[in-house]
Structure formats: C-alpha cells, structure tokens
C-alpha cells in the first residue's frame, strides 16, 4: 500500500505523504519550474522529473534518494535527419515535422527482469529507450521509421506524441503505447517490430469513411491491468473503450453519465473489470459537467458505472484532470488525482470517498504513487 505520491505541476514538484489521519504536502521541489511529469521506478526507487523550460528546452532530472537531491541527466535527443530526407508535413498543420524534442510526455520502467531499462514517449512522436537508468537514450528506429508514423496527427499541441506506455508485467518484451494522434501500437519483441492495432476504435471527429482508421484514433490515455494484461482501458477523445484481447479489438462504452469525455483513466491492478474515469463536458468546454467534480467507477467491465462524489466539490468547480493526473496504488484501494485548478484529492476506499489535500497548487500535470 502506498503512503506517498508525487505531483508534477506547472510550478514545481510536490511530495504528498500519508500522516496519522490525513495526507499532506511534505516537500516542494523546483518551485517555479515547469515539471511536466513525474515517474517513480519501483525497481530501485529512482525518481524522474522532466522539465519544459520554454526558453531553454526540455530537460530531465533524476533523484536516487527519494527526492532529497536531484541531478540533471541527458534528455532524449533526436538524431540528425538522413541526408536528403524531407519529412512529410504534419497532418492539418502542413509543415514539416522537426526532429527535435518538444516534450517528454511519458516515462515507464521496463520489466523486473531488465533492470535499468526505461521507456520514454515524446513529442513529436519518438519513443526512446534507455538501458542504464537514463544515462543515455536511443530513439526506437523501427517505430520512428515506420511509414505510418509519418501519418500521425497533432493533438492539443502542434505535434503528435506518445503519452502512454504499458509494459506487460508478465512479458517485458510486450510493450503497448498510446499515441495522440495515432492509435495504439504494440511490440512483442522489445521494440524490434511494431503493429498498429485498434480495431473498433471510432473517431467521430473524422469523415465517416475514416472514422475507424486505427491510425487516426486520438487515444487520450491507455492503461493495462497488471493482473490480467489482456485487458486494456482507454479514455479516448471520442469516448471510453475497453479491450479484453490484448488491445487487438476494442469495445466502445457509450451513454455514460455525466459524460464519456475526459482525459484520464486508471485500472484496478488486480481486478480487470474495475476502472475509474474523471468525466468532463465534451469537448469544446472541457470542464466538469454542471460545475461538479466526479469520478466514474465501474466494477463490471464498463456495463454499469457509479458516479462518485463524496468529498469532491459539487458546485462551481471547473477542475479539468489531465491524462496523467490520476493514479491508483498497488492495492487498488488508494487513488489520487489532481486538476488544472491546482486541487488534489485522495481516496483510501477505492473512490467511495475523497479527502482534499490541497486546493491551491499550480496546474497539475501528473500524479504518481511511489509503488513498491
């Protein structure tokens, strides 16, 4: 059971610890800096915090002492473009894609049988791998050089990106990634070859003939059940989806109140039928429906949902939760999420009730438990 989680925000990185009866912020680091993510490696306790400095580019910091001290380590770098190569224009933007790191959008530790291995998903669409705890990084060329990669579209930013990385806990060579905008891709050989999947996903925002094209799917967040890795859940721009066959095919979950739109999803680590979503009004508004923050939970694989609200603000709340803004611990009992309004809530009963940790933080990008 996790007694600590980390919160990456627009203005710093915060550590939240469980005290005798309440959770509270125990440390603020990098105050004023734009920390776009935080990753905790359960194999060795290492912490990683990517920065987006705006002026000075994307940087990466690592702590090997649970956040007491930090050191800058190399961030992934795109290689030089091959001689004579002209990148195709990014769809919609009609300008060439730069081979330059724009954002570290996700990081994930490799499996327990491959110590030191880290995966890093970035904008503008490169997946990087480190085999030495982040000392060096290498662009995964089989995915980067795949002709369909050049068809990936932009999202809220101007570039496509990899925001979700799921390493199969039973097979480290099996890695699934979520791309915005570019669907779900799978490797079963540690990244030597990749397959585009996503049959059944639907992109309502595309012309009818292209709505089921797997490579145009705007996956917002992809998660995999640790106990049953064949089960994936997705919060998609278009709604909610679930797969029970290893992401080969997807079932759309419709008519969920108050909304099927959102960015984040978490799956119970032991129960593949249980998942949590944080809905918001689709899609131009992107704030809680009727100003009420709620969490939608299913225990039956998405057939029915409960709308959980005990302890969450139920009037004039306009908190949006980003795709990495919610996490669940190893037990499935403790959850935490944070919002663009700088609120953090934590639950110790699977979401039945919530306590407010803060309402005054900077906009929250990511919440991650320290897991063992």
């Amino acid at each position: 059971m996790s007694d600590r989680f980390y919160v990456a925000t627009r203005k710093g990185l915060f550590t939240v610890d469980r005290r005798v009866s309440k959770w509270s912020i125990s440390r603020a680091a990098f105050v004023g800096d734009n920390i776009t993510l935080v990753m905790h490696d359960p194999r060795n306790g290492n912490l990683f915090a990517p920065f987006n400095h705006g002026h000075f580019g994307i940087k990466l910091h690592r702590s090997t002492d649970h956040g007491e001290t930090w050191n800058e380590i190399p961030a992934p770098q795109y290689p030089p473009m091959p001689e004579g190569y002209v990148p195709k224009p990014i769809p919609f933007f009609n300008k060439p894609l730069e081979w330059s790191l724009k954002l570290i959008w996700n990081m994930a530790p490799g499996g327990p049988d491959e110590p030191g291995v880290l995966w890093c998903g970035t904008m503008p669409g490169g997946l990087f791998k480190s085999e030495n705890n982040g000392e060096t990084w290498e662009l995964n060329r089989p995915l980067w050089d795949h002709p369909k990669r050049e068809q990936w579209g932009p999202n809220g930013a101007e570039w496509p990106g990899i925001h979700s990385i799921c390493v199969d806990p039973q097979d480290s060579q099996h890695v699934s990634i979520g791309v915005s905008t570019g669907g779900v891709w799978i490797t079963r050989d540690g990244g030597n070859s990749w397959e585009l999947t996503g049959q059944g996903m639907r992109a309502e925002y595309y012309p009818v003939e292209q709505q089921f094209d797997p490579n145009v799917q705007d996956v917002h967040c992809l998660v995999q059940c640790a106990a049953n890795p064949d089960v994936f859940w997705v919060q998609h721009h278009n709604g909610m989806f679930r797969s029970i066959d290893g992401a080969a095919s997807w079932t759309e979950i419709k008519d969920v109140k108050p909304s099927v739109f959102g960015f984040t999803v978490a799956v119970h680590p032991k129960d593949p039928h249980t998942a949590w979503f944080v809905p918001s009004t689709k899609d131009e508004k992107r704030c809680p429906t009727d100003g009420r923050v709620v969490v939608n939970r299913t225990h039956d694989g998405g057939q029915t949902f409960e709308t959980l609200r005990q302890g969450l603000p139920q009037e004039h709340a306009y908190d949006l939760v980003y795709r990495h803004g919610m996490d669940v611990d190893e037990t499935g009992k403790r959850l935490a999420f944070g919002s663009t309004t700088g609120s953090i809530w934590v639950s110790e009963d699977g979401g039945d009730s919530w306590q407010t940790v803060s309402s005054n933080l900077p906009p929250v990008y990511a919440v991650r438990f320290a897991k063992s």
């Binding site: 705006g54 000075f56 795109y78 330059s100 790191l101």
Partner: protein, 91 residues
Amino acid sequence: MATVRFTRNIQRHVECPTREVSGFTLREVLDEYFRENERARGYVLDEQGKVRQHMVVFIDGDLVRDREKLSDRVEPNSVIDVIQALSGGKI
C-alpha cells in the same frame, strides 16, 4: 576574439560566464564556447544545431538572421548576446 554574454536567467540552470572566444561565424564562435561547456549547448541550441525557438541571439546589437546554420558573420571584436525571447515564457 568575440565576447559572448548570456542572459542572467540561464545561469540558474547552467553556469555560462562571459568569455572571449574566436571564430568567423556565429556557428564557429558558439561551438568554441560550448566546447568547454557542453551542457550549455542544449540550453541554447536544439539537437539539430538550430537556435531554440524561444531564444534569440544578437551580434553587435543586431538580431541574428540565420537561426538554422548560424552563418552570420562575426567580427574580431564583436559582442554576442544570447538571451531568451519574450515569447516562450508561459505564465
């Protein structure tokens, strides 16, 4: 020798003292500077060697024109200022 000066704001992340270095183009001058301060290179230039989108460079008070190849001419007594642009500073 040209003089290279850096914005105060970069110093919080990576130390960049003012130095005199040789070179006939901006590329040559910055390469010479970063040779002894490799970490600072990535704060000013991207991995393709271009000036970062939200950084600007002046040579003797004139904005550098070639932000990709850094071919702008540098005189022996030039002063080069590397600063952050007003853009890029999200609140």
